[in-house]
Amino acid sequence: MAKVKGAIVIDVDKCKGCEVCVEACPTDVIGMADEVNIKGYHFAEVKNPEDCIGCANCAIVCPDGVITVYRKKVKA
């Protein structure tokens, strides 16, 4: 059965830490960092990379367009 695996790249310096992506992720991949970025925001970071399905929901709702999404088909 074909399965997809995803990965996201977050431009942490441009992230404003709004957490909208965290809400939008169906597989709880994203969390907020304990440390802050150059703007002083707790930025979004990938907490559970293995669960990412590359659905792009996070990137689509990100107001600042800081998330890039990749997806690859893999066999189970």
Partner: protein
């Protein structure tokens, strides 16, 4: 290839790219507050312009309000209008460059208070352009004052005890109002707080531009009900939830007018 062998590094390569910020958004950091819907709204408009291959023919109009600097972020030809006058600018451009694709981007204060006359008359004349109307029920840029769309009872810096409609008047449902005018062709109300809503809004903007391109004979009006977490004094996620619970019942999402005909909500 076995799943366990795939690493994140394997996936992150150009051939696997599924979503990247469009180049029609500049690299400037958006001037908006964290979680503000403006950024998403800007981006999907630019995505549609790119996908419809009309970068060279599109001219946008920025308003006065939080999105006054929209021209810094949208990487196309743009004009910046005086407060409320964007539909007049758009009329001037579209009438003299009928083959160009024209849109205005306006907030509630700009479009539904100071610019009401320009909005109504551009709609009523059936000008063939797109108005994108961001309604967050507040004046964001000047610090959270009452807007024409502020809900009854809703607090703002000029209705600090909540909007008293007897004293301050009623919120204006200008989108329903312009849908009544024979000059509007497509009128819809959408939102950008969830992935599904973003996708729907993007489709609406695409429909609007397609109508304009095909000269369907009427103005296309896309309202986006959005948040203002700074003005509402909430966290971005809470603001989105508050919007769903309070704004959407008063400003229900969905198409109001399609192909020049009012949508029957019965």
């Amino acid at each position: 290839m076995k799943e366990e062998n795939i690493t994140t590094t394997d996936i992150i390569s150009d051939e696997n790219l599924v979503y990247k910020k469009t180049d029609l958004m500049t690299d400037k950091t958006l001037s908006y507050c964290p979680g503000c819907g403006h950024g998403t709204a800007h981006r999907i408009i630019m995505e549609v312009v790119e996908e419809m291959d009309m970068t060279e023919d599109t001219i946008g109009i920025a308003p006065v309000g939080c999105s006054v600097l929209a021209y810094e972020f949208m990487n196309i030809d743009m004009q910046q209008a005086a407060h409320g006058r964007a539909p007049a600018l758009a009329t001037g451009i579209k009438r003299t460059w009928p083959d160009k694709m024209i849109f205005t981007y306006q907030g509630d204060g700009d479009l539904a208070a100071i610019g009401t006359a320009e909005t109504i008359h551009a709609c009523n004349r059936g000008e063939n352009f797109l108005i994108v109307f961001i309604n967050n029920g507040i004046y964001g840029m000047t610090g959270g004052q009452m807007a024409p769309t502020t809900l009854p009872g809703m607090k703002s810096s000029t209705s600090p005890y909540g909007r008293d409609v007897k004293l301050m008047g009623n919120p204006l449902k200008i989108t329903e109002l312009v849908a009544e005018l024979p000059g509007t062709y497509y009128v819809t109300r959408q939102a950008v707080h969830t992935p599904a809503n973003v996708r729907k809004t993007k489709r609406a903007i695409k429909t609007a531009f397609k109508n304009q391109m095909e000269n369907k004979g009427g103005l296309n009006f896309v309202e986006i009900v959005s948040n203002c977490n700074s003005g509402w004094k909430m966290s971005p996620v809470d603001a989105n939830n508050w919007m769903v619970e309070n704004m959407f019942p008063f400003y229900p999402l969905g198409d109001i007018k399609l192909d020049g005909e009012k949508v029957n909500k019965e």
